[in-house]
C-alpha cells in the first residue's frame, strides 16, 4: 500500500514530468518555426567528437587546451566516465554543473528533496524552479548547458530499504555502458545516515567514492577520497571534521537550522571536482583528505589507512583483498632521485630554509594513531573497545582543538548478562501480538 507521503511524491514527479513535456514541446515548436534559421539561440546540437580547434563556437576548446599545455594527457577520456552525484544541494548541484561543463560522459543524480526559496542563498538553482524536484530541475539546466552529457535522475531517499537496493543496482550497472558500474560516486549529502548508506554500498561493491561536507556553521568543509580496502572508509573512524577554531561555548545553537554560505559550498564543490578531474584524467596529486577552514584560510591535508578492526565487515574484507593484491603485485624498483643541493656561494644574510615539520613531529605521527594533523579532528570519540586500533590516549587531540561533542557511553562495555535482552521461546508473531495487547 502506498502511503500518503509516497503518493505526494508521485504527484510531484508527475507534475515535474508535465513541466518537462511542456518545455520540450514549446522547444520543438520554436524549432519548427526557425528551422530555416541557422540554430536556435541557446541550444546547440550534440557534438560527437571533442575538438581542440580554437574557435568561438567550440565549447571544448579551453578544456582541450589542457593537453597542449601539458597538464592532461588525454582530455577526451572524460567522455568515457560515469559519475554518480548523491545529494544535489549546495555542493552537489555545483559539482554536477562543473562536471557537465567539463564534458563528463554520464551523470547520475540522486536526491529526494525539492527546490525551495530557502535554497537561494546557494548557487545553481533559481527561484522559478521552486517546488520542482532538485534532480529534475538540475537535469533541465544541465542538459541546456551541455547536451552531450547523458543524465539519469532518481528522486528518492537512498537510505530506505527499497531505494537503497535500487541505488546499489544503479551504481553497479548504471555506467556509461548499461551494465557496467559507474566510475565514481560523489557524496554531497548533509547527513550521517546517507553517508553510511553510500559507505555500505561502496564497501560491498569495492566502489571508489569521494565524500564531501560543509559544517553546520558554514565556515569549514572537507573532501575525502575513499578507495575501499586501501584508504580509511567512512566507518573506520568517527567522522573527521575540520576544527573551526571557534570556542564551543560561544557557539550559538538555537534552533536546528544549519547555516550555509554560497562561498564555502562553492569552494568545497571546487576542490571536490578538482580532485575528481585529477583522479579520472590522471594528473597532479589526488588528495586523500583535504580540509578547508574558512576562518583562517587553512587547508589541512592528510591520508588515513583503513582500520583493521572497522565495524564494517565488508571494509575488513576489502582490506584483505587489497593486501593480497598488493602482495601479488610485482615490486616496482624505486628510482631514487637525488636532488642536488643548491648551495649559494654567497649568503651574507645567513638565510636558510627550515623544514616545517620537526623530527619529533614526524616520529609522533607514525604508528597506529589516526594521523590527524593540526586542524583536523574527529566529530566524537568512540569508547576504547570500539577503537581497538589504538588506545584512547594515543587518539591524539592536538592542543587547542576541541572535540565537537563527546557523548557518554551508557552501555557497560563488558555488558553484563543481566543487562542484556533475555532469550525467549516466543515467536515473532507471538511477541507482536503481546505488544498489541499491552
Amino acid at each position: 500500500m502506498a502511503t500518503m507521503e509516497e503518493l505526494k511524491l508521485r504527484v510531484r514527479e508527475l507534475e515535474n514530468e508535465l513541466i518537462k513535456c511542456k518545455q520540450r514541446s514549446s522547444l520543438e515548436e520554436q524549432h519548427g518555426h526557425h528551422q530555416h534559421h541557422q540554430q536556435q539561440p541557446g541550444h546547440r546540437p550534440k557534438i560527437h567528437k571533442m575538438s581542440a580547434e580554437v574557435v568561438d563556437s567550440n565549447p571544448y576548446s579551453r578544456l582541450m587546451a589542457l593537453k597542449r599545455m601539458g597538464i592532461v594527457e588525454d582530455y577526451e577520456k572524460i567522455r568515457s566516465y560515469a559519475v554518480a552525484v548523491v545529494g544535489v544541494g549546495g555542493v552537489g548541484s555545483v559539482t554536477a554543473e562543473m562536471l557537465t561543463r567539463c564534458g563528463i560522459g554520464k551523470l547520475l543524480l540522486f536526491d529526494y528533496d525539492h527546490v525551495e526559496l530557502a535554497n537561494m542563498n546557494r548557487l545553481f538553482f533559481q527561484p522559478h524552479q521552486a517546488g520542482m524536484s532538485k534532480v529534475e530541475a538540475a537535469e533541465h539546466t544541465l542538459r541546456n548547458i551541455n547536451p552531450d552529457v547523458t543524465f539519469e535522475t532518481h528522486n528518492y531517499n537512498i537510505t530506505t530499504l527499497d531505494n537503497f537496493n535500487h541505488f546499489m543496482e544503479r551504481v553497479s550497472h548504471g555506467g556509461l555502458e548499461e551494465g557496467t558500474p559507474v566510475d565514481l560516486i560523489l557524496s554531497c549529502v548533509d547527513n550521517f545516515e546517507a553517508r553510511i548508506a553510500i559507505n555500505t554500498v561502496c564497501n560491498e561493491l569495492g566502489q571508489v567514492w569521494m565524500e564531501s561536507g560543509v559544517s553546520e556553521n558554514a565556515v569549514s568543509g572537507h573532501i575525502q577520497l575513499i578507495i575501499p580496502g586501501e584508504t580509511a572508509c567512512f566507518a573506520c573512524a568517527p567522522p573527521l571534521v575540520v576544527a573551526a577554531n571557534i570556542d564551543e561555548k560561544t557557539l550559538k545553537r538555537d534552533g536546528v537550522c544549519a547555516a550555509s554560505l554560497p562561498t564555502t559550498m562553492g569552494v568545497v564543490a571546487g576542490i571536490l571536482v578538482q580532485n575528481v578531474l585529477k583522479y579520472l584524467l590522471k594528473f597532479g596529486t589526488v588528495s586523500h583528505y583535504l580540509g578547508y577552514n574558512a576562518m583562517l584560510d587553512f587547508f589541512p591535508t592528510m591520508s588515513m589507512r583503513p582500520n583493521p578492526h572497522c565495524d564494517h565487515a565488508h571494509c575488513r574484507r576489502q582490506q584483505e583483498e587489497y593486501q593480497r593484491r598488493e602482495a601479488e603485485r610485482p615490486k616496482e624498483e624505486k628510482v631514487v632521485e637525488v636532488e642536488e643541493e643548491v648551495v649559494h656561494e654567497e649568503n651574507n644574510w645567513g638565510i636558510e630554509v627550515v623544514s616545517e615539520v620537526t623530527e619529533e613531529e614526524l616520529n609522533a605521527s607514525s604508528g597506529l594513531v589516526p594521523d590527524l594533523p593540526e586542524g583536523i579532528t574527529v566529530a566524537y570519540t568512540l569508547p576504547p573497545q570500539k577503537v581497538r586500533w589504538c588506545s584512547t590516549s594515543s587518539l591524539h587531540n592536538p592542543a587547542g582543538l576541541t572535540l565537537w561533542f563527546n557523548p557518554p557511553v551508557l552501555v557497560p562495555q563488558d555488558s553484563d548478562e543481566g543487562a542484556m535482552v533475555q532469550e525467549t521461546e516466543e515467536s515473532l508473531e507471538e511477541l507482536m501480538a503481546r505488544m498489541k495487547q499491552i
Binding site: T159, E193, I196, T200, D311, M435
Partner: protein
C-alpha cells in the same frame, strides 16, 4: 547529557544482542524479536511506574513502525501519532522518528515531521550501537524531545488541547456535557 534519570531509564531497557539489520534475513528476524522483547519490557516498566507514554508496532517485515505517544503537561494529555521507518543501514545508524502532525510548528524538526535528534541522541546512538534498539530511541530520543517541545508549543499557543480547544489556561466550564 547522561544525567541520573537518563541512566535509570536506560538501565530499565534490556540491551540487544544481535547485530543485524533489515538486509540480513535471518539475523534480522532474531534482532526483531529482541526489539520486541526490549520494547515490551520498557512499556511494562513504564506502566508499573505510572509513566506509560507510548505504543509502537511494526509491519510484518519490522521496517515500518507506527503508534502513538502522549505527553502530560499541566494535567492535560497531548497525544500524537508516531511513525518511523528503519534505514537500510540500521542498526549502524539510528532511524528517524516522525510526529507528522507537529510539522511546521517547531524548528526542531526536519521535513516530514521527523524530529531533530542530531544533538541529543545521534552521537549517543553512534557510541552505543548495536546494543541500543528502538526502545532506547524512544526513551532517549523522542522522550526528551517531547519533554522540551510540548510545553514550549503550548506556551506559544501552537498546540491546543483537543477536548479543550479554546486555550489550556481556561478553567473547564462546570456542568458542560
Amino acid at each position: 547529557m547522561a544525567d541520573e534519570a537518563t541512566r535509570r531509564a536506560v538501565s530499565a531497557i534490556p540491551l540487544l544482542r544481535t547485530d543485524g539489520g533489515p538486509r540480513d534475513r535471518e539475523l534480522w528476524v532474531q534482532r526483531l524479536r529482541e526489539e520486541y522483547v526490549a520494547l515490551i519490557r520498557y512499556v511494562e516498566a513504564n506502566k508499573a511506574a505510572d509513566t506509560d507514554w507510548f505504543r509502537l508496532e511494526s509491519d510484518p517485515g519490522g521496517t515500518r513502525w507506527t503508534g502513538t505517544c502522549w505527553y502530560v503537561h499541566e494535567l492535560l494529555r497531548y497525544e500524537f501519532s508516531v511513525q518511523l521507518e528503519l534505514p537500510a543501514t540500521y542498526p549502524a545508524t539510528a532511524p528517524d522518528v516522525a510526529v507528522p502532525e507537529l510539522e511546521g510548528k517547531t524548528a526542531k524538526m526536519y521535513r516530514g515531521g521527523r524530529v531533530c535528534l542530531t544533538d541529543h541522541f545521534k552521537p549517543l546512538w553512534a557510541r552505543n550501537a548495536p546494543r541500543f534498539g528502538l526502545a532506547h530511541l524512544m526513551a532517549l530520543g523522542l522522550g526528551p524531545w517531547l519533554a522540551v517541545e510540548v510545553p514550549d508549543l503550548v506556551a506559544r499557543g501552537l498546540l491546543t488541547h483537543r477536548e479543550n480547544p479554546q486555550t489550556h489556561r481556561d478553567p473547564p466550564s462546570a456542568g458542560a456535557p
